[in-house]
């Protein structure tokens, strides 16, 4: 299984799309921005629904109405993330394969997605509204899961795989004002 997966990741990185992105800082920055805008949409709308579940809704609007009104935008954010994510992944697939944070993120993402489309959906759309403790637990789990997915995503960039040596900055501190930091 592991060998099979590694082959898939190596193939991903060998594709023309992956190689083109890999060698273009502008494309990577653009794709990351799109990925972040998707995250913003996803987290913003989910936060609003979870706040409603916690009793901080908009006016006296029932939770199901807020959830229904925002559902399309949550899906939109998800679609943006799930289409930009694999493209970004392909540009450094082998590095991600070796980075534990990547696999943690994938595991959390699967859990968050299953939770979102089963329990969260059921509780948010309950009529009459879910009991208070049920609503609160659902909201807290939802916020926690999605925040963890986002944090694990950030961790992919921060924690490099163990196989590669960690490069420490050798620049003298503090460096002379205006002088180039790296020769």
């Amino acid at each position: 299984m592991a060998i099979y997966l590694q082959t898939v990741f190596e193939w991903m990185e060998s594709t023309t799309v992956a190689q083109t992105i890999r060698h273009s800082a502008k494309l990577i920055a653009l794709l990351e921005s799109i990925h972040l805008i998707g995250l913003t949409l996803l987290l913003g709308t989910i936060l609003m629904v979870d706040l409603s579940l916690l009793g901080f809704g908009i006016g006296r609007a029932p939770v199901w109405r807020i959830a229904k009104e925002l559902r399309g935008w949550t899906t939109g954010g998800l679609v943006i993330m799930l289409s930009s994510g694999p493209v970004l992944l392909s540009s450094e697939a082998i590095r991600c394969y070796r980075t534990p944070a990547f696999w943690v993120k994938m595991a959390l993402l699967v859990i968050a997605l299953i939770f979102h489309f089963t329990i969260h959906k059921k509780v948010a759309f309950e009529e009459p509204p879910a009991l208070r403790y049920r609503a609160r637990w659902t909201a807290c789990l939802s916020l926690g899961l999605w925040a963890s997915v986002a944090l694990a995503g950030k961790a992919i960039a921060i924690f490099q795989p163990q196989e590669e040596p960690i490069i420490q900055s050798t620049a003298p501190l503090p460096h002379p004002p205006g002088a180039p930091r790296h020769s």
Binding site: A25, K26, I28, A29, L30, E32, S33, L36, I37, L39, T40, L41, L43, G44, T45, L47, M48, L51, F56, G57, I58, G59, A61, R65, I66, E69, L70, G72, W73, A147, A150, L151, K154, I158, S169, L173, P174, H175, P177, G178, A179, P180, R181, H182
Partner: protein, 168 residues
């Protein structure tokens, strides 16, 4: 240049040296900064989409603003504090970054847009017909806000990759 000398002074402080020596400072504050931006943009987007009539159509604009904007402001405080620290850890570098300059301009424009909206059109929000579309100027403010925040996120990412970043 006056601004450049401020940046040079920032880079020469002890705090700056401590921040750059630390291996955890940048990743930690960068992460909090990103979460702050997601919080600001994610919440203000809901207001913008409501103004444009694209989401939360069943709720009055004033109710949406009243509930959501405090979160936007909290997120902004988080973003501003962490952003200032991150900036002072590499001030001269950022001084030379075009993406960073554009980001700051967009930030000011987003702020002015929001301020103008709240001081003028929004004052009348209680009288808007909840069933009808928001007034044209309110919709325009929403559209501008969306564009500015998308721009801020994009230029923010570009700082790490754009030309100019490695100049100084």
């Amino acid at each position: 240049m006056f601004l450049l000398s401020i940046c040079q002074w920032l880079d020469s402080t002890r705090l700056n040296a401590a921040m750059r020596m630390s291996s955890w400072f940048f990743p930690t504050f960068d992460t909090i900064h990103t979460l702050g931006i997601v919080m600001v943009a994610g919440t203000i987007m809901l207001v913008d989409l409501r103004l444009l009539g694209l989401a939360l159509r069943g709720e009055p604009v004033a109710a949406v603003v009243k509930r959501i904007v405090p979160w936007t402001l909290n997120g902004f405080a988080l973003m501003f504090v962490t952003g200032t620290l991150l900036f002072s850890s590499e001030a001269v570098k950022l001084y030379h970054s075009p993406a960073f300059r554009i980001k700051l301009v967009l930030l000011v424009l987003a702020g002015l847009n929001a301020l103008l909206f709240h001081l003028t059109i929004y004052r009348d929000a209680a009288n808007w017909d909840p069933a009808a579309a928001a007034p044209l100027r309110a919709r325009l403010a929403g559209l501008l806000s969306l564009a500015f925040w998308i721009g801020i996120i994009t230029t923010g990412r570009a700082i790490a990759y754009g030309s100019g970043y490695d100049l100084g």
